[in-house]
């Protein structure tokens, strides 16, 4: 079977499509159609907004309590992490927002995959450090909500118990929830890296 035969087969299949009615005016006029990248971009915008709020709130709190023992340190660390996550989400949104659908598919798919890799890496870092973040949030939360220094009041055993609770929660999530398992095990990152490798292979000249 030669290429001409394949083309003839393809064209004969296309002939059956000639009768498919298409009214472009009606399709273009339909409301509610979202862009091809809408679902991806929407999630990134939501994350960016959440991170911006976290940076503002933690920045304000850190500025006020910078010199407080324990709480000031916990808030500063949380603030620094929030800034890193905000920068990461700005990068992702920018990557997706500047995509031009009339660019070559290889270029567009590469941008989508890079933005996805940054998102997965950010999510994985947050998840894997969640036992520590949980404890820091508890320290800041105790001060904000109840007005006391949790480290001073409860001591080291309380910190260790919170770290343990964070680890147990993370472990249970990784066992019972597939998306968490994929993130913690790095399967999602591996999938994105495989996609990038696939795109590179497609772009590379074959011998």
């Amino acid at each position: 079977m030669e290429m001409d035969d394949l083309s003839a087969l393809w064209q004969s299949g296309n002939a059956t499509l000639a009768s498919v009615p298409v009214t472009f005016g009606a399709l273009a006029a339909r409301d509610g159609t979202r862009g091809a990248l809408f679902s991806i971009a929407f999630g990134r915008w939501f994350t960016l907004a959440s991170n911006a709020i976290a940076v503002l709130a933690l920045g304000s709190y850190t500025g006020d309590h910078f010199r407080d023992p324990h709480v000031g340190l916990a808030a500063t660390i949380l603030f620094a992490i929030a800034v890193v996550l905000l920068v990461s989400s700005i990068f992702q949104v920018r990557m997706l927002a500047t995509i031009d659908l009339s660019a070559p598919p290889l270029e567009v798919q590469h941008r989508v995959a890079v933005a996805e890799r940054v998102r997965v890496a950010s999510d994985s870092v947050v998840l894997c450090t969640s036992p520590i973040l949980w404890t820091l949030l508890a320290i800041v939360g105790a001060q904000v909500l109840f007005g006391f220094d949790a480290v001073l009041v409860f001591g080291t055993p309380w910190i260790l118990a919170n770290l343990g609770l964070g680890l147990v929660t993370l472990g249970l999530g990784a066992v019972f929830l597939e998306p968490l398992r994929r993130l913690v095990a790095g399967k999602t990152l591996a999938r994105v890296n495989a996609r990038l490798a696939e795109l590179a292979r497609f772009a590379a000249p074959e011998s």
Binding site: L6, V20, V22, F24, D100, P104, Q109
Partner: protein
């Protein structure tokens, strides 16, 4: 005509121009959607996304460039993103990406097509998204130079990849024929 009316008239003229250009290139939208969709309903949804994407990008369309190349890129980018989005949802349900490839075939009852055409469509549908774009463009009669321009790869690369894909498709069709004749023989 008042100053206020002018933008409205221009917008209406743009609408009409866009629809007319799409109508003139209807096969691009229809054939790309058909190559990436797995059912008639999918094809309708995908065509709508392609048209919407083209409409959003139309303000940036440079008339000095070929409309078909511009539309092919939008159609393929939309189709590839659509397929990958569907794949993610499917893999969440099935937790196995290979299962998706196995079902990535056209609905044989949707169109009255013969076995060989169905086998070719199924073999094309089982390809990864970018090789699929390449072979679809070629089977649609697009030149190597234009395929290279649309996809963003070199012309030499187009030729080499097409040769490999052709071998793959030919083998897949022959295997499907053999399987069918074995089934018929047993039946």
């Amino acid at each position: 005509m008042s100053q206020v009316d002018t933008p409205v008239v221009n917008a209406a003229a743009d609408d009409a121009r866009f629809i007319a250009m799409l109508e003139a290139h209807r096969t691009i939208v229809l054939h790309v959607a058909n190559a990436y969709a797995r059912s008639v309903a999918d094809r309708e949804d995908l065509m709508q996304e392609i048209v919407a994407g083209a409409w959003r990008s139309f303000a940036r369309y440079d008339p000095a460039r070929t409309f078909s190349t511009w539309l092919y890129r939008i159609a393929l980018n939309t189709a590839i993103s659509w397929v990958r989005r569907s794949s993610r949802h499917a893999s969440r349900r099935a937790a196995d990406d290979s299962a998706l490839a196995a079902v990535a075939v056209h609905d044989p009852d949707a169109l009255a097509i013969d076995d060989d055409v169905g086998d070719l469509r199924a073999a094309v549908a089982a390809l990864d998204d970018l090789p699929r774009a390449l072979i679809v463009l070629h089977l649609e009669g697009t030149s190597y130079a234009t395929i290279a321009e649309i996809l963003g790869i070199t012309e030499t690369n187009v030729a080499t990849k097409l040769s490999r894909i052709k071998t793959h498709l030919r083998d897949a069709i022959l295997r499907a024929r053999e399987a069918r004749s074995t089934r018929n023989g047993n039946g």
